[in-house]
């Protein structure tokens, strides 16, 4: 009800300008995100896991630039089932441990190529579990990173092509090699 009231209080000017929701205005006033699910110290780790999955490339910044750790934290808190909350929390502990054992160092202390190597192996393991219809914890992290990044402003407008108001539909639109996918 509060949200509905908050939303309906915002007037809309037809087609002119982009509506800024009150939550964004608030977050501008309070730039420091309040961590609600993971440990504060885990946010940089989540950012780097995200960046390893979707790193900076020539066309667009990586997941870290979108504050993917904060997104994951809020999403897990508010949108995950209690079972998946446990799974991802335990998963993060497992990931830390496994990394130390297999790579000999904390994930954050590894150079980028070693992080990549470690997560490629973890992803392979997760894919095997998928075939057996089991959800590996790494899938939860990866799906969150993909969702959070490609629906972020950087992901949607730089890594993809974002058309808020296409204005028309064309059924036969040329596609040159290198053309990006639409964001929606």
């Amino acid at each position: 009800m509060n949200r509905r009231e908050a939303l309906s209080g915002i007037s809309l000017s037809l087609g002119l300008g982009i509506l800024v929701p009150s939550s964004l205005l608030l977050s501008c006033q309070n730039p420091d995100y309040q961590v609600v699910f993971f440990e504060i110290a885990d946010i940089p780790l989540l950012d780097e896991i995200g960046e390893t999955i979707l790193p900076n490339t020539s066309s667009s910044l990586g997941a870290k630039s979108t504050k993917i750790g904060n997104f994951m934290d809020a999403y897990v808190k508010n949108c995950f089932s209690p079972e998946n909350q446990i799974k991802i929390k335990e998963g993060l502990a497992t990931l830390k441990e496994t990394c130390k054992i297999e790579m000999g160092k904390d994930f954050l202390k590894l150079p980028a190529e070693k992080r990549h190597q470690f997560l490629v192996a973890l992803d392979g393991e997760a894919n095997k579990k998928s075939i057996e219809n089991e959800i590996h914890y790494f899938k939860l992290f990866k799906n969150l990173v993909l969702l959070g990044y490609f629906t972020s402003e950087e992901g949607a407008t730089k890594s993809l092509r974002y058309l808020p108001v296409p204005g028309r539909y064309e059924g036969n639109y040329p596609l040159q090699s290198g053309d990006k996918a639409w964001a929606l």
Partner: protein
């Protein structure tokens, strides 16, 4: 029960006509009645929503904290509403929350509702096909329902009447099974859909695949500009409400048009308790309303009453309208009120890959799909089940959720995901279900809602015929996708409960015989001719098309008849 008789009739509580409900059919009744000069009161149980007051309409995906996904808590609190495909974080303010409006599911039934001015016209799927003569004639011809009291020819001019005002995009396809509308330019098929349609029609000449017809202004005409509506921008964010007024909603179109006549009074927050029947005058005289917020009782009076509360709520109001003359609900002499409720069978879908056309793409987001009109039991009974189904399909290029070649994380992975994937095909059914006395709604004898109105019990389920029709769709869908050159074809059973189709129809069906139906050919209750029912509740059978356009045409026809009868003093 007779307390209303002491209430003085004033010009604030007395009108020529009362319309219960402000959605697709109610707003059409209001428009027609107001244009004919009748002082009309529209009662809406929900809050007011003014056109343009669509708070999420211009928001970007990243403006939503959870990127437009629902929270776990919302889904837990609203299991029924959350199952609706159109409900997400950007649209949830236009859907009824489960806990606020309880009902009793004797059999699992997902009742999706929109309680606000405009009703579900803000959140409908906007696909608008005319019924053909087959939908009107075949149900009684093949013996699975009573005869419709009207046919295609009774409705054709009324289809034209509403189509010109609403604005329907589509081609003139010249199909007997899908009559042409008065249409605006059609949306285009993309190249994959064109190639697939051609291949399907080559193998199945009696299965034309045509671009869908929908209530979107592809090229606004003067009548639409006069309504203040503009061209569709191909955003496909329609369920948030359209700031351009490009798709038809009561809010953007019929309600403001009715208001311009000066004859409309719109009263939001007015929960209709019952229609008042006067045993001495032998007619309905008005309605009893409970204010949504204050819970105060109000009475309003009129010469004629249109019930357009949406199918199941219209049933509920009539069942709750009890008098000495009608102890079992208004007009319910034959005991059939609330029975013969039917719906559309959406259980089946197929997904597939399409490997060609990789050098083509599309621009913009189209609000319709490809339609294949019904080809089962059309000219003759040719299947081992009754009724038919329409088929819909779309081709889209896969997005960032797909797997790609090589490593599934890292820079190369990201670069590949930034490009369109191959074509992915989605095909779905819209199947007719057979109206049966056993599929019914009735009032609870013990449970009431927050406004003291009995809760509705839904007792509606699939049957063996639905199962056979569903299996036939999966078989034929697979065959058509194969003919179209698709690979990796997979069949799906959503196992969804009835109701999630949001195409509930019947309970107050039309017919010529008062022993077997509730409404006559002008949608008047046989036993109470100044009460008209023109929403989904009036439907004798379900057809295979999306039903809203037919509700609008039936409503316009009945409203014009009603206005004439008032002018002639036949109804007074």
């Amino acid at each position: 029960m007779s307390s209303y008789k002491n209430i003085e009739r004033t010009n604030t509580n007395t009108f020529d006509a009362i319309v219960i409900g402000s959605g697709i059919s109610g707003s059409w009744a209001a428009k027609e009645l107001c244009e004919k000069g009748l002082k009309t009161l529209v009662l809406e149980r929900g809050r007011d929503v003014k056109h343009g007051n669509y708070p999420t309409a211009m928001m970007n995906p990243w403006d939503f904290e959870h990127r437009n996904r629902l929270t776990y808590q919302f889904k837990q609190e609203n299991p029924v509403a959350s199952r609706c495909y159109a409900l997400d974080d950007s649209t949830k303010h236009f859907f009824v929350k489960d806990s606020e409006h309880p009902y009793i599911q004797e059999k699992p039934y997902d009742w999706i509702r929109g309680y606000q001015v405009g009703g579900k016209s803000l959140i409908w799927a906007r696909q608008t096909q005319r019924w053909s003569k087959y939908e009107f004639e075949n149900p009684s011809k093949y013996g699975y329902t009573i005869k419709w009291p009207i046919g295609y020819n009774d409705l054709a001019d009324w289809y034209s009447h509403v189509e010109k005002f609403v604005g329907i995009s589509g081609n003139k396809d010249g199909l007997e099974t899908l009559p042409d509308s008065e249409s605006l330019p059609a949306w285009e098929m993309n190249e994959a859909e064109k190639a697939m349609s051609k291949a399907i029609m080559k193998q199945y000449p009696n299965r034309p695949a045509v671009i869908g017809r929908c209530a979107h202004l592809t090229q606004p005409q003067p009548i639409h500009l006069e309504q203040g509506r503009g061209q569709c921008q191909a955003r496909n964010l329609c369920y948030r409400g359209c700031p351009y007024g490009a798709y038809f909603s009561a809010n953007a179109s019929t309600l403001p048009w009715a208001a311009k006549t000066g004859n409309l009074t719109l009263r939001p927050d007015s929960v209709v308790h019952s229609i008042l029947y006067d045993d001495e005058l032998q007619k309905a005289v008005g309605v009893k309303v409970i204010d949504r917020l204050t819970k105060e009782e109000h009475y309003f009076f009129a010469k004629i009453i249109f019930a357009n509360a949406a199918c199941l709520n219209t049933n509920l109001i009539l069942l709750n309208s009890k008098s000495n003359r009608f102890p079992n609900g208004l007009g319910n002499d034959n005991g059939l009120l609330g029975k013969y409720v039917a719906f559309h069978n959406y259980r089946g879908s197929l997904t597939a890959d399409y490997d060609g056309q990789l050098d083509t793409y599309y621009y913009g987001r189209r609000p319709t799909s490809i339609m294949i009109p019904n080809f089962r039991n059309v000219q003759r009974q040719d299947a081992d089940f009754q009724g038919g189904y329409m088929t819909f399909f779309t081709a889209d290029r896969r997005g960032w959720g797909r797997a790609v070649e090589g490593e599934q994380i890292g820079a190369a992975f990201k670069e590949q995901l930034s490009k369109p994937g191959n074509w992915s095909i989605y095909m779905m059914m819209q199947g007719e279900t057979i109206p049966k006395a056993t599929n019914h709604v009735r009032l609870s004898e013990n449970e009431v809602d927050e406004w003291g109105i009995p809760q509705l019990i839904t007792s509606i389920d699939y049957d063996e015929n639905d199962e056979k029709l569903f299996q036939d769709f999966l078989k034929e869908g697979e065959a058509m996708l194969k003919a179209a050159g698709c690979t990796n074809i997979k069949k799906h059973d959503s196992k969804q409960s009835p109701g999630l189709d949001i195409h509930e129809m019947g309970g107050v069906r039309m017919g010529d015989d008062p022993r077997t139906s509730l409404l006559n050919k002008w949608n008047q209750l046989h036993a109470v001719p100044n009460v008209f029912v023109t929403d989904g509740a009036c439907m004798t059978s379900t057809g295979v098309q999306n039903p809203s356009l037919t509700f609008m045409a039936i409503t316009a026809r009945a409203a014009n008849y009603a206005a004439e009868q008032v002018k002639k003093n036949v109804l007074s």
